[in-house]
């Protein structure tokens, strides 16, 4: 039986849990360091607010052990805020359109795991009114899959992947830019696979185990 740990400090973790259970996994919620006593085969970092999750990861004692596990090769899927927590580099501090830049310069920074060699811009499509549904291109070995259907994408105040490191593989593109990537044991997606019916990204993640 495959056991997946879902970070459950804040955000849409129940949605991931239901999808993983439907795919036959046992799911364990991580809320506190004591939840790490039981072993698990993979980790999901859900959507939510990255500032909140980064703070609670530290306050609950989960941060350092999880970072070590990811560095040691634990398969991990990070979606939206989860991608931000994985990203090595963050560009800016979110949307500042029409706002006071001096005030914005003092926003709380997100201090995540920094294990995935990509640069990510937070809230790159704007505030909530910039949220949208779209369709993405599912790639296989860097090319469009011959009989692959488009992948439904839900972007909620979404981050954008601006740059990817040399060994990073693009899994899904939207408007010719990467929106889901893989680097060794880590998958990061700017959208929310837990909110659409397509299971391909979950299956790819479970194949890493």
């Amino acid at each position: 039986m495959t056991t997946i740990a879902v970070l459950a400090v804040q955000g849409a973790f129940i949605e991931h849990q239901r999808r993983l259970e439907a795919l036959g996994c046992t799911v364990r919620q991580l809320r506190h360091e004591a939840d790490l006593q039981h072993s698990f085969d993979g980790l999901v970092l859900p959507g939510g607010e990255s500032t909140v999750q980064a703070k609670l990861l530290r306050d609950t004692g989960l941060f350092a052990p999880l970072r070590t596990l990811i560095q040691e090769g634990l398969p991990v899927l990070g979606t939206c805020a989860g991608l931000i927590l994985l990203a090595q580099h963050l560009d800016g501090s979110g949307d500042t359109t029409n706002l006071d830049r001096q005030l914005a310069a003092k926003r709380t920074a997100v201090d995540g795991f920094r294990t995935l060699p990509v640069t990510v811009q937070r809230n790159a499509y704007g505030r909530q009114l910039g949220s949208f549904h779209a369709e993405g291109l599912w790639l296989e070995d860097g090319a469009a899959h011959p009989d692959g259907a488009p992948l439904p994408l839900t972007f909620i105040r979404a981050p954008r992947i601006e740059n990817v490191g040399p060994a990073v593989q693009t899994l899904v593109t939207y408007q010719d830019a990467p929106v889901a990537v893989r680097y060794r044991n880590q998958i990061g997606a700017a959208f929310h696979p837990e909110l659409d019916a397509d299971n391909r990204l979950y299956r790819l993640f479970l194949d890493l185990l």
Binding site: A8, N98, S131, F132
Partner: protein, 318 residues
């Protein structure tokens, strides 16, 4: 999937998206409803804090707030000041939008759709059509289906919650009795809504028509509650939450997250109390941790016993 573009979208909405630099077509109204409910899903397990200045907003964000409510006066001060309470100055709201990267909410008066239009025009993340402000319309709530911005509305029972959802609310919160620091009303509303949901679940399918008539709600929404055993939108607790224990109580009673209004910035050590309430909302089932979190928080807001007050805000807008 519904079509991606729609002629129904407004000029204000188009401007907002253009300002954000997006090249994506505007969503249809049905899709916008889905997107707005989905944003609320991202707030779950979190704490939304009332703030009145950019500095307070920064403290709230650093303490782990998942969103802030920008308003000129917190409910306790609105209650103390009396008079007519209105939407906040857009310049003040923009200052708070600049100060934090988390979603920013703002309140408009019940039924005041022009205030809501203004809030949407400044690209607000969520509008709270709130009984804390003086109602502008004693009969009609805002037709929230006409807006791209998501709305949160207060409810004391299942009927109110489903009527607000029918009007387009993408998120529900208990009304509580704002500005009192007394959690009794929030507890009552959360218990009532959840026990009414359990009762609806237990009905036979052919009894739902009569129940919809009795609750004065649309049949389709009631059927969705019957089938899912929950509201079709996220349900937060609000009103009178002042301590980590209050937050844990509401989460154990089935809230999906909490609003803290006057409880933080009316207390002795706002940053510490805010962080403790955030942690309590995540680990609401861990009494030992809750005990640690509750230590040495300084003075809690003094509060007013909800039975001693004359102005009952929760009765505004049903």
């Amino acid at each position: 999937m519904a079509p991606l573009s729609s002629p129904e979208t407004t000029d204000a909405a188009a401007t907002a998206t253009a300002a954000a630099g997006a090249t994506t077509p505007l969503p249809s109204s049905a899709e916008q409803v889905a997107l707005n409910r989905q944003l609320a899903q991202m707030l779950k397990g979190g704490v939304i804090m009332d703030v009145t200045t950019p500095e307070q907003a920064r403290i709230a964000e650093a303490a782990g707030a998942c969103a802030v409510m920008a308003l000129e006066r917190i409910p306790a001060d609105i209650r103390a000041a009396g008079g007519v309470s209105r939407m906040s100055d857009p310049a003040m709201i923009k200052g708070i939008q600049a100060a934090v990267s988390i979603p920013v909410m703002a309140k408009c008066r019940i039924g005041h759709f022009a205030e809501a239009q203004i809030l949407q025009a400044i690209d607000i993340d969520y509008i709270d059509e709130s009984e804390v402000l003086s109602p502008a319309d004693d009969t009609y709530h805002i037709d929230k289906t006409q807006f791209r911005a998501p709305f949160v509305c207060g409810a004391r029972n299942l009927g109110e919650a489903l009527r607000r959802i029918a009007e387009g609310a993408a998120m529900i919160r208990t009304k509580g009795e704002p500005g009192t620091g007394d959690v009794v009303q929030a507890v009552r509303h959360m218990r009532l809504i959840n026990s009414q949901i359990r009762a609806v679940q237990a009905l036979r399918a052919d009894e739902l028509f009569e129940e919809a008539k009795r609750l004065q709600v649309p049949y389709d929404l009631l059927r969705s509650v019957h089938e899912a055993g929950k509201l079709p939108v996220v349900n937060f607790a609000a009103g009178g939450i002042a301590t980590p224990a209050d937050a844990a109580l509401m989460m154990q009673l089935g809230a999906e997250g909490v609003f803290v209004g006057s409880g933080i910035f009316k207390s002795g050590d706002p940053a510490k109390r805010a962080a403790a309430i955030v942690q309590a909302t995540t680990n609401y089932q861990d009494p030992e941790l809750l005990a640690n979190l509750s230590e040495n928080l300084g003075e809690a807001m003094v509060g007013i016993n909800a039975q001693e007050i004359e102005l009952i805000m929760e009765e505004r807008g049903q």
